[in-house]
């Protein structure tokens, strides 16, 4: 067993984990963060994407032990707890642009979008497609995902203009 200390969605956890435990298994099975899902076992589909210290990582390709001392944000932490019904601009845009159907890829897709927008706050459609290349969706054909990310980018830019927020555009942990 390995002892880890990790902050997930604003809460700090100290846990013993098996060395082979994947970060996604730790999140889902130990912490009950089942909003993050597993879609493949080869890091191709991106359904398990979370933010590690604000950067997108595929949590099926990281050991839980590697998250020791780091800050993890999942889809469940995009909006600080206690704000019932509040949505992050990316979540709101996915809803308003109909960027999801079955919704299975959605958490990973949104976290990857947050990572993309942290790097590039004003991406072209082409840059959005390239930036989300590591995330697969079988329902939407990506058209509305591109629109949603573009809309979220605009909202985040205007919010940033009005009041500076965290550079990743996500809730601080």
């Amino acid at each position: 067993m390995t002892n880890i200390s990790v902050t997930v969605d604003g809460v700090r956890y100290d846990d013993d984990v098996e060395p082979r435990t994947l970060l996604v298994q730790y999140l889902r099975e130990r912490l009950g963060k089942v909003g993050t899902v597993v879609g493949c076992d080869t890091s191709n589909c991106g359904a398990c994407t979370v933010l590690l210290d604000g950067r997108g990582v595929k949590s099926c390709s990281l050991l839980a032990a590697q998250s020791d001392g780091h800050v993890v944000t999942t889809v469940e932490g995009l909006v600080p707890t206690g704000e019932d019904g509040a949505l992050h601009p990316v979540q709101r845009a996915f809803h308003e642009q109909h960027a999801l159907q079955c919704g299975f890829c959605t958490p990973g897709m949104m976290m990857a979008a947050c990572d993309l927008l942290a790097d590039n706050p004003d991406p072209s459609d082409e840059e959005i497609r390239e930036g989300l290349e590591g995330n697969l969706c079988r329902c939407t054909g990506y058209q509305n995902i591109v629109r949603a990310v573009s809309a979220a980018a605009a909202e985040l830019r205007s919010a940033r203009g009005a009041a500076p927020s965290t550079p990743e555009g996500v809730a601080s942990a």
């Binding site: 076992d41 996915f94 890829c105 390239e130 591109v146």
Partner: protein, 795 residues
Amino acid sequence: MSVVEEHRPEVGNARLRKEDAHLVTGQTNWTDNITPPGTLHIAILRSPMAHARITDIDLGPARDRPGVVAVFSGRDVADEQGTLPCAWPVTEDMVHPDHPALAVDEVRFAGEAVAVVVARDTASAVDALEAIEVDYDPLPVVLDMEAAVADGSPLVHADKGTNSSFTWVFDSAEAGTGGSVDEALGDAEVTVSRRFLQQRLIPSFMEPRSVVVDPTGGQFTMWSATQIPHILRLMLALTTNTPEHKLRVVAPDVGGGFGGKLQVTPEEVITLVAAKRLHKPVKYTETRSDSLLTAHHGRDQIQQLDLAARRDGTITGLKVRLLANMGAYLGLVTPGVPLLGAFMFNAIYKMPAYRFECTGVFTNTAWTDAYRGAGRPEATFAIERMMDELAAELGMDPMEVRRRNWIAHEEFPFTTVAGLTYDSGNYEAATDKAMELFGYDALRREQAERRERGDPVQLGLGISTYTEMCGLAPSRVLGSLSYGAGGWETASLHMLPSGKVEVVTGSSAHGQGHETAWSQIVADQLGVPFEDVEVLHGDTRVSAKGMDTYGSRSLTVGGTAVIAACGKVIDKARKVAAHMLECAEDDLEFADGSFRVKGSPGSEKSIQEIALATFAAHDLPDGVEASLDSDATFDPENFSFPHGTHLCATEVDTETGMVKIRSYVSVDDVGHVVNPLIVDGQVHGGLAQGIGQALFENAVYDSDGNLLTGTFVDYTVPSPADLPAFTTARTETPATTNPLGVKGVGEAGTIASTPAVVNAVVDALRPMGVNDVPMPCSPHRVWQAIQDANGGASS
């Protein structure tokens, strides 16, 4: 008396989806999230060989591994597991081999389940698989369909004496719907013959399949990532000898299906059997590799077409011969899939003679079954490719050849040479709109310029003027095709005492947006707020009856059942309203959610008030029962026939073979639209899957029968960077076969897009002598087609 506001129509609005709130916040209920206390976990040992006799299995060492609770093989559960069902025996003499969930004596494809470990956690179960020793005696493998039906082929099922499951024929001369196709071919001024390969695809729903069975208290509750909770419940009851009323099936949040979860799976049977044996909750969640290897595949046909025509482009006959790969076994509707295409090769075209002949073939591969479109994409691909080939043969514009043959809008309803009656359509309108949006003439000019100057990047224009039959299905037609069930759908409506509404639907959504669309329908029918409607589905305890979701049927069949259920509630409410308002029922009109006495303003009762009155039941008219509920079932009289025109422009690099879609226009006619947002989403996703077949996806086995495309590294589902932005638009020719005037939309994009893309690729290369490129049109295949046409040697 209440003040009633005028109800704004909901149907036709781009309502944002009710489903989204929990999906975008991660408050989801996927099957793999469900783990009752004490749950045991399954790992499955799968055959590494495509065909072998199992001579010995030693389970002993695995039983001693830490955390292991039970280990069993097919021989241990041979009686309990029964045989997996095939509900569509297409001919009386169809060869229908037993289909065990766990192989008993022989494995017939690589990946077939051989043994099961049940342990306290998944890791222990997977670890223990290594300790199981299986002795296999290899048997000859047959993978190629033409080899499989040749004399002397190795047999997938030796006891059956053949690899041919069935041969099913439709002939217009025999059916009385047309003439003899052989005469047409004999008399033809022009004939075009082509052989097309429909490559094998893998549905690739994003949520891997998962199943949990809780046997607590002798009531078996199964959660499964399935499209078909109702059919699954019945089939499991029949095949595993579980009393149907003791089995509850729940499809919680389900992450896509596309036909791939229209199945009764070995894993569902195995998990149920394990839970029965161990009296504990048991769970199985597949890995993506397991999913690609063993969840049923789709397509996989060899198509031979012979088209007869006159020099002016008029089609005089079409002959279709298919070999359809069943794989090693028959799944739930495997043999019926090619039959869904049998009525569609003639498509939107008038032709006097047609013959379709299909042989289902066993091979040592994963079994095939429904995948988005199921039979209709294959048919549409073939006929739309043939129309382009006929045009090339005659030196005509491919759209002009289509115009000369299609059913004119004033000819509807039209009974086709395949015996279907298309209720409505307007191919001219959809085509005109698509041509305008696409800029067809300007692109043809650019194409000519590029050809003229020998541009290494050539431009190709591809057309697909498609229709399809969906909205499955009239029960009597399914009966005539020997399908084992009906095609009706059911809805129940409960007006709650507070005036809120629960709608129970028998169709089972997994991304389609039923909760939103059904709410819109109910809001309009009852005049209640959209927000006051709750749609319940996917749990056989809540929704006892239903035919589930596939074949673009939910709205045309299930939505119509919802309207019928609303009608029954209104009928009952009218009796109560007349009693309360002391008038005759005929004196009442119902609008905006209220009954009003005609000519007596102010005298009215809202449906919510009536719901409360029927709950209290203090003063109901004689013969009226308490509560305001209804049940309704709808069985369609005909299929639904969406249609449209898709146009694709590709830039093909003749030096590298790289294909780039420059623009894609889709004009679809799905009749009236309940929610344009949802319809557009269905079209986008359909296009992506059809383009996936055209350019990217291919399930490949090596010569020993090992799946080479067993991960998403090798089975290339398109990524965002692989696809273009689509231009979508609609024409609206209402269906005449349902009260909403709607047609199915779930499969149209997939059915239409594949030939549009491939026609565009071939069109770009035609001056170089290329008249076909096999799918998927990868850079290598495109480059190879150019080399072959040049007579050059391949590298």
